[in-house]
């Protein structure tokens, strides 16, 4: 299987200065990972373990200090790359004055779709995300679950090959989570690649082919589905065991970052 995302010894250190004093904080350390075409890869980790940093690096929103990241065999900065990726940040905000339909049209236009493509794709994503009945509602009128559906719809309106989803189940009720899961399964059936993080281990367990466990910026283990399907306690037990038994603390890399 060809790789869609490829991290090689990627290191990201955040630096901030205040009153002449520079503070450094680890984002990712020597992170290497290949995400294959058509797979659902989940990132699990405690808060601040580097999940969002990984996604932002894959999207070109952050720059690496050392190492490389390639998505579709090129650095994540070209227009061609952004045409092929859909992103849902954690707790996204949409302009409250827009209706669901106008919001999706806005993101469709920014993705470079023509008017006829927007019309066709809009109907598709509204139907797929269950937003048809809500398309004329303003964003300000939507519940959290419906807003999350809008987030997914904007990420898929341009029919991307890769979806990067940062905590897409955050704050959703059980029915909304089930709908979202079914939608993601349909996308996988269509051959899309999904790179996802969630605190809901149960959902990651159901959806993902492989899971990476992050701790303090380090990828400490990559698990395949077979690693948790047969084990008692499933993925949750494996995750807890891995995180608790890892005693290496995050440290700044010895090589000085670029």
């Amino acid at each position: 299987m060809p790789s869609v995302i490829s991290f090689r010894e990627a290191t990201k250190v955040y630096s901030s200065s205040h009153l002449g004093r520079t503070t450094k904080k680890i984002g990712l350390v020597d992170f290497s990972l290949e995400v294959e075409k058509g797979e659902a890869f989940g990132l699990l980790g405690l808060n601040g373990s580097g999940k969002t940093t990984t996604f932002k690096l894959a999207l070109g929103l952050l720059a690496l200090n050392s190492g490389t990241v390639k998505v579709f065999d090129s650095p994540p900065s070209t227009r061609a790359f952004y045409s092929r990726v859909g992103y849902v940040p954690e707790l996204p905000y949409f302009q409250s004055f827009l209706t669901v339909e106008s919001c999706l049209k806005f993101y469709g236009r920014l993705s470079g779709l023509s008017n006829s493509e927007i019309k066709t794709n809009l109907e598709r994503v509204l139907w797929e995300t269950g937003l048809v009945a809500h398309k004329e509602k303003r964003i300000s009128e939507l519940s959290k679950g419906l807003s999350q559906r809008v987030a997914l719809a904007q990420a898929t309106i341009h029919n991307p090959d890769l979806l990067i989803l940062d905590e897409p189940m955050s704050g959703l009720d059980p029915l909304a989570i089930r709908d979202l899961r079914e939608y993601l399964f349909r996308l996988l059936e269509d051959g899309k690649t999904i790179f996802i993080s969630s605190h809901s281990i149960f959902e990651i367990e159901k959806l993902c082919h492989r899971v990476g466990v992050l701790k303090e910026g380090r990828l400490i283990r990559v698990l395949k589905r077979k690693d948790w399907t047969g084990s008692p306690g499933g993925l949750e037990e494996r995750f807890t065991e891995i995180v608790q038994n890892d005693h290496l603390t995050g440290a700044l890399p010895k090589t000085s970052p670029r």
């Binding site: 227009r79 790359f81 952004y82 992103y87 940040p89 996204p92 905000y93 004055f97 920014l110 470079g112």
Partner: protein, 248 residues
Amino acid sequence: MKKIWILAVDSFLENIWNRIFVLVAIFGGLLIYASLLFGVLAVEQELRVLMDSGLALIEMVTLIAGIYFSATLFLKEIETKTIYLVLSRPLSRLEYLLGRVFGLILSLLFIMVSMSFIHLILLFVHHWSWQNSYLWALAGIFLKALMLIAAAVFFSLFSTSTIAAIVFSGSLWILGNFTQEIRFLTQKESGLTAILSRILLFLFPHFEVLNWRGGFHEAKVLMGASYAALYFSIFLALSWLIFRAKEF
């Protein structure tokens, strides 16, 4: 170009929707109404007072709105994460920057046109007859606003708080109205202080070259417009240099 326009219209509509924008428009209307009262007090010079105070208030409201919208533009988008949804699309950071800035310009034009409309009604009610100098005065105010929003956007890109960006931009506005006085003071200085003062003076916007209430004077207008365009372009270019390397 198409994406710049899409973003500009989006910013414009958001500002229209924003209650603060409505408040500013009401504020402008009320102040112009107050200028009518000043006119009543100055019976002999009623029209002149109405004209001058109205234009001064239009300028003040436009520039305050310009500073506020520019200083909050990117910080708000970063805070709400809207910027991630836009920058993860096939568009360059330059397109994004220009789109948002042109959206601001459209918003300020809308504010100015709305307030001028109210002002003109008041003037015509007082039997004022049309003079082209009114349009030149508005053009001067608009160019001042352009200079100020370019500077405010620049400050907002390296400020971590909205208040800091507003304070920087507001100070620039105040200093820009006193450049002649500052120049006079720098002439009295010597040595390193004089050099530093002159450098700072060069950076301040020289708003006096855009005071066109006296009407159209070709050389003055050409020089003022060129100066404003250059100032706007330099700050926008500096903003782009910061923005293209900025991490989110």
